[in-house]
């Protein structure tokens, strides 16, 4: 197996190359099936990798393949190497499985689009970079994948680039991500200067000489987290994600819900050995995570665009994952990452199906009563909604509850309360979305009503498969308290075991405590409360939502706390103003003056030197003769003095 | 410092110095009475005709070059012939290959017409820029 890891990333790359150069004359179906097959091959290989990992000793589950020596400058050394351990194995399984389903779904969704081939090129390229990101065995390879997925995200958000708004959204995502990437880059530089290596497994033994809480490691962790904040849309760099919904819906499902945005979580989990040495940084991660979870959830309460609701929900759920990382429960974060990938991809694909059926309509106030018209979409959507709301039995319950329990267990009571309230909001806005979209009477136009139809099977089959995964995906991590043995955490244990022995949670094995049941019960009650409230407001059509919407709080939340405006007034405009001043005075005056001065100087020198080249061979010979005398003279000078 | 080359340098200095000394005294002692006959170029007693700065036909060079190539071949062949008995078959083969390569060159030169003194311009390189080589032109 160890020689075949590269095949996992090779197949999507083959897809990119083939589609770029050779499939110009292929039919849509052929292109779609070919691209999907390439990702499917990656999935099969990921499963093979998983099986071969299972066949190994738990502590030896670590396959590394060095592809080639990539960069070697002085003592700096970065091999292009891929690493499959249990952590990256979970990631490649999730990424390739979800990507494969979304590729299939896209064949139906993108049907008839003029950019069909371009779309699949970008999508395959994205899968390639995403797999590279999670498989890289050092920070630099990871960074290449990281930048690559950012590029693909930019290309796909602005996929319909003729629309000014969509192109702008792409640019916004790119620029905000650059801020995060800058932090990540600085972190890599700092890691290199501190440890002299950027290989994950070489850093661990070199950390021995640093005390816990050492300021340089804290700095590294915080810089890494800046990168994670950008990519995973956490406060305050989350602003790009809701706008990124401008891209095609399968892209939102794949990149902006299931995979790319979770790269930040993966990166923090991958760097757990650094974070466990920096409690202060972990604290920051936990607080930012919990804060984002509730902050985004409140905005989600009042959004009317079906994809915007899901976007804020994604931001909020990513907050949960960071909360888990912040309390040292990396395995749980990855667990939630996986279940979230299933149900959030499903939600987005379901919304895509709705938008498809509604001829492009995204406003849930114009929907309603779609349950009978799109039954498959409805039932799968319902499964995902139950999962995200945290109803027992569905995948989201196990992972979210585990996060809240680890938070509570780690004595982070304030964060726990925040998490529970966010869970309440989540249940509320998700059921609000469900009721407004699928229940009640149809509120759209007549032509839309006639046109509403269930989506083709290439779209509904992935929905059904994802619904199954969203329903049962949580049982791999069934906690001991519910009679399971948490296979998931055991599987990941070897990766995370090294780092956090000193932290409060004692690894995978802990006894069942009665208080765990109480904590669990509270989150279930809170979720049911949210559902009940949504039911009263949007199914029974009670009058309180209308009254509330007159208040100032509502307006503030509806306008997303005016964060975009604050950024505009506080950052964007001053930056632009500053740039203008710099451009006019500093750049044109000082820099250009200097540059032009230098250029003029060299031009003058060049004009003078050029005259040496007279064209007369006699002159050349004389000058050469002078050169000969000087060379010999210098040699003799060296010899005698 | 100069090792065994010191006598050579001494010799160079002495020779150069002697020339300078002789020239110096010669210019000091010799009378200086030029006339046109003295200043004219000495050409075995004949009266010089025209300038010596005339263009030679480049054909001379080609013939000379071809001559040199086969001259050098002979230089190679003599030492080879002397030790041939010790070297045996491979040496014979090597020299045979060497001669074949040279003969290829000869054949090439022959076929291209470079062994003819009066050569008509080649058809394929014919152009207005090239003056046709006629006996008239060749006289200069």
């Amino acid at each position: 197996m160890s020689h075949l890891i590269f095949l996992i990333i090779l197949f999507p790359l083959i897809g990119v190359i083939t589609n770029t150069f050779f499939t110009r004359r292929w039919s849509e179906a052929a292109i779609g099936i070919f691209s999907s097959a390439m990702v499917g091959a990656s999935f099969v290989l990921s499963v093979a990798a998983f099986i071969s990992l299972l066949g190994m000793e738990a502590s030896a589950r670590h396959i590394e393949q060095v592809l080639f020596d990539w960069i070697r400058v002085g003592s700096f050394h970065a091999p292009a190497a891929l690493l499959v351990d249990t952590l990256s194995c979970v990631m490649i399984l999730t990424v390739s499985a979800v990507s494969f389903l979304i590729h299939i779904y896209s064949i139906g969704y993108m049907h008839g689009d003029t950019g069909f081939r371009r779309y699949f090129i970008f999508l395959n390229l994205f899968v390639f970079f995403m797999l590279l990101l999670v498989l890289g065995s050092n920070f630099l390879v990871m960074f290449i994948g990281w930048e690559g997925v950012g590029l693909c995200s930019y290309l796909l958000i602005g996929f319909w680039y003729t629309d000014e708004v969509k192109a702008t959204a792409g640019k916004k995502a790119f620029i905000v991500n650059r801020i995060g990437d800058f932090g990540f880059m600085l972190a890599i530089f700092l890691i290199w200067t501190t440890f002299g290596t950027i290989q994950f497994d070489e850093i661990i033994p070199r950390m021995a000489s640093f005390p816990i809480g050492s300021s340089v490691i804290t700095a590294i962790c915080l810089l890494l987290f800046v990168g994670a904040i950008g990519k995973s849309a956490q406060f305050p760099l989350y602003v790009w994600l809701p706008d990124a919904m401008a891209g095609p819906t399968p892209v939102s499902a794949l990149i902006h819900a299931a995979t790319m945005v979770t790269a930040g979580v993966y990166m923090v989990a991958r760097s757990h050995f650094l974070y466990s040495m920096a409690p202060a940084a972990l604290e920051v991660v936990a607080i930012v995570g919990a804060g984002t979870a509730i902050f985004a959830a409140t905005i989600g309460l009042v959004q009317n665009d079906i994809k915007k609701v899901l976007a804020y929900s994604t931001v909020s759920q990513l907050g949960y994952m960071f909360l888990a990382c912040g309390v040292g429960a990396y395995g749980v974060a990855i667990f939630h990452l996986m279940t979230h990938a299933f149900f959030k991809a499903l939600l987005f694909l379901g919304s895509g199906s709705v938008i498809h059926g509604m001829s492009g309509e995204q406003d849930i106030r114009q929907m309603g009563g779609l349950k009978t018209k799109m039954p498959k979409t409805y039932w799968t959507f319902l499964v995902a909604t139950l999962a995200i709301a945290g109803i027992p039995g569905f995948s989201g319950f196990f992972s979210k509850d585990e996060i809240l329990w680890k938070t509570f267990e780690g004595h982070h009571y304030v964060l726990w309360v925040v998490g529970v309230v966010a869970a309440f909001f989540t249940a509320f806005y998700m059921f609000r979305l469900l009721y407004l979209t699928f229940h009640g009477k149809f509120r759209g136009s007549k032509s839309q009503e006639q046109h509403v139809h269930e989506s083709p099977s290439s779209m509904t089959v992935p929905l059904i498969i994802l619904a199954v995964l969203a329903a049962i995906g949580g049982y791999v991590g069934l906690p001991a308290a519910l009679g399971g043995s948490n296979h998931f955490e055991h599987f990941l244990h070897p990766v995370f075991a090294g780092g956090h022995a000193h932290l409060l949670l004692g690894g995978a094995h802990h006894g069942v405590e009665p208080v765990e049941y109480i904590v669990m019960l509270i989150s279930v009650i809170v979720a049911l409360l949210g559902i009940w409230l949504a039911r009263s407001g949007y199914f029974r059509m009670a009058s309180w939502p209308g009254k509330l919407s007159k208040g100032m709080i509502y307006t503030t939340v509806l306008n997303k706390y005016y964060v975009d405006q604050i950024y505009d007034v506080g950052i964007s405009r001053p930056t632009v103003k500053f740039s203008e001043i710099m451009a006019e005075w500093f750049d044109l005056g000082v820099i250009d003056g200097l540059v032009n001065g230098v250029a003029a100087f060299f031009n003058w020198v060049a004009g003078w030197l050029r005259r040496l080249q007279t064209g007369f061979v006699q002159n050349y010979a004389i000058l050469m003769g002078a050169g000969i005398i000087l060379v010999l003279a210098s040699l003799f000078y060296k010899m005698f003095f | 410092m100069f090792g065994s080359f010191f006598p050579v340098i001494l010799f160079l200095l002495a020779a150069g110095g002697l020339v300078l000394v002789i020239l110096f005294f010669s210019s000091l002692i010799a009378p200086h009475r030029p006339n046109p006959a003295k200043n004219s170029t000495y050409e075995c007693g004949e009266v010089a005709e025209g300038s010596s700065w005339i263009r030679f036909n480049s054909r001379f060079y080609i013939i000379a070059l071809i001559f040199i190539i086969f001259d050098v071949e002979v230089v190679f062949l003599y030492p080879w012939a002397i030790v041939y008995r010790h070297l045996g078959f491979w040496a014979w083969l090597e020299m045979a290959i060497f001669l074949v390569i040279l003969l290829t060159g000869l054949a090439y030169v022959w076929a291209k017409g470079d062994l003819e003194w009066i050569r008509l311009p080649e058809k394929e390189t014919e152009s207005s820029a090239e003056t046709p080589l006629t006996p008239d032109n060749l006289r200069n």
Partner: protein, 477 residues
């Protein structure tokens, strides 16, 4: 006899080229006119075959012919590079020759002989053999430079090249003679050991100095560079492309073998002179290139400047610098061949005479030419992710390691100056409008293939430089 066969195997790539050359001459002579296009094909096959044989000789042979020929891995690398350069030159030549109505059968055989001579130069482990290779190469180049006989500039350039070349060869030969006089040998290895034992003599130093002058001429280092702008401009463009990379690389490899290895014990004496020559060469090349309006002339001065960078590697010395210099030679060959090919194609539109102004707006009118030219210019300027960037990085970091900070600072400043004229072409191509409608570029498979191969390799080496560097480190002499 077995050992004799093994020795022959050591020089098999050279033999293949010579056999091909002779075959090509005879074919040209004996066949009818319309069949002569086969000569190009056969030459191409010869280059490819010789290159493949060179690949197979990797790790197979060492010194053969009583230590005269070093058929080691270092040689193998450059044999492959030279075959590549030769093959590319053949690919871009037929159309050019047809257009210029140069119908000389000698063209391809002489090209084969030149590459053969370059191989002899790099595989020589003896000053005499090296000199033979150098002379064969030089004479063949004099002929190639003036193939366009009706173009007065071409013949003028070739004559200048010949006169100055003969001038410098005399110095080189005299240097060899003096070193032989002092050490009693012309073998690199024996010279090396002899110089360590022998006391330092005036004669030795004079010999080293004269050798250095001869080399400086061949690599067109200041102030022995005067021939190169005139020759590069006057020679047929495929030959200019060839000359700017092939013979230069051959001379540098010989320079590495002679100076950084054989004469290493005298490094104290010659390093200072090479240091100054390097500084002068890169500075003059870059500064004068700023003012050029003719792309061939600009690339000629750029080539001088690159020789200056390469001399940094000679000054630094040691395995890492040698590997870096070799890396740079490979990178430079790829990007410069590519740039010249674009220049050739741009000129095929039938207007102008390699003027930079022809490039106005060309990026949009000719997408492939624009993109590849941009890649080559970025690479020549040393901007990542191109081969040129890593070439400079390795070269300069090797020099820094040896403590030549000042030299590297000057070289980096020079790179900044150089970026101006390289990027100006990109600016012209993409940020200015054409003054008149662009004529279509009559293209030809060989050109497209060359552009694609060279640009892809430039990018490939630029993104995965480790492979090539490790290969070169493994091949060090």
């Amino acid at each position: 006899m077995d050992s004799y066969a093994a020795q022959i195997v050591g020089i098999l790539p050279e033999i293949l080229l010579i056999v091909t050359a002779i075959f090509a001459i005879l074919l040209d002579l004996l066949s009818k006119k319309e069949e002569r296009s086969w000569v190009a094909t056969i030459s191409l096959v010869g280059f490819i075959g010789s290159g493949i044989v060179s690949v197979f000789l990797w790790n197979r042979v060492g010194f053969v012919f009583s230590g005269m020929v070093a058929a080691d891995n270092f040689t193998a690398v450059f044999r492959i590079l030279f075959c590549f350069i030769g093959a590319i030159t053949v690919l871009v030549s037929p159309e050019y020759l047809r257009e210029r109505k140069i119908r000389l059968g000698e063209y391809y055989p002489i090209l084969l002989i030149t590459v053969f001579a370059m191989m002899v130069m790099v595989s020589a482990a003896d000053l005499l053999l090296f000199f033979l290779g150098l002379e064969t190469m030089s004479i063949a180049l004099y002929v190639l430079a003036c193939l366009d006989r009706r173009d007065s500039r071409s013949t003028e350039a070739a004559l200048k090249y010949f006169i100055l070349g003969a001038f410098s060869t005399a110095f080189l030969l005299y240097g060899i003679a003096l070193i032989y006089a002092q050490t009693g040998s012309t073998s690199y290895a024996e010279i090396m050991t002899a110089l360590i034992v022998l006391p330092l003599e005036v004669v030795t130093v004079a010999g080293v100095g004269l050798l250095l002058i001869g080399f400086a001429f061949k690599v067109a280092a200041v102030p022995f560079h005067f021939w190169s702008p005139d020759v590069y401009q006057g020679a047929p463009t495929p030959i200019t492309a060839f000359m700017s990379v092939g013979p230069k690389a051959a001379a540098f490899v010989a320079l590495i073998r002679v100076f950084t290895i054989s004469l290493e014990s005298l490094a104290d004496i010659w390093t200072g002179a090479v240091f100054v020559i390097a500084v002068l060469t890169m500075t003059l090349g870059n500064v004068v290139a700023l003012r050029q309006q003719n792309i061939k002339r600009m690339l000629a001065y750029s080539s001088i400047a690159h020789a200056g960078y390469l001399l940094v590697g000679i000054v630094a010395g040691g395995p890492r610098a040698i590997a870096a210099t070799s890396f740079y030679l490979v990178a430079y060959a790829l990007m410069n061949l590519g740039a010249f090919t674009v220049a050739m194609l741009m000129n095929r539109r039938g207007e102008g005479d390699y003027q930079l102004d022809d490039y106005r707006g060309a990026g949009f009118a000719h997408p492939l030419l624009g993109v590849t030219m941009a890649i080559f210019m970025f690479s020549l300027a040393g901007i990542p992710p191109t081969a040129g960037f890593f070439g400079k990085l390795y070269l300069f970091s090797a020099a820094v390691e040896k403590g030549y900070i000042l030299l590297v600072v000057i070289a980096v400043l020079n790179s900044a100056v150089a970026a101006y004229y390289y990027l100006r072409i990109i600016v012209l191509m993409y940020m200015t409008r054409a003054e008149h409608e662009m004529a279509a570029v009559p293209s030809f498979g060989g050109y497209t293939l060359t552009l694609v191969v060279t640009s892809v390799l430039v990018l490939l080496i630029g993104s995965l430089p480790g492979g090539l560097l490790n290969l070169l480190l493994a091949a060090l002499p």
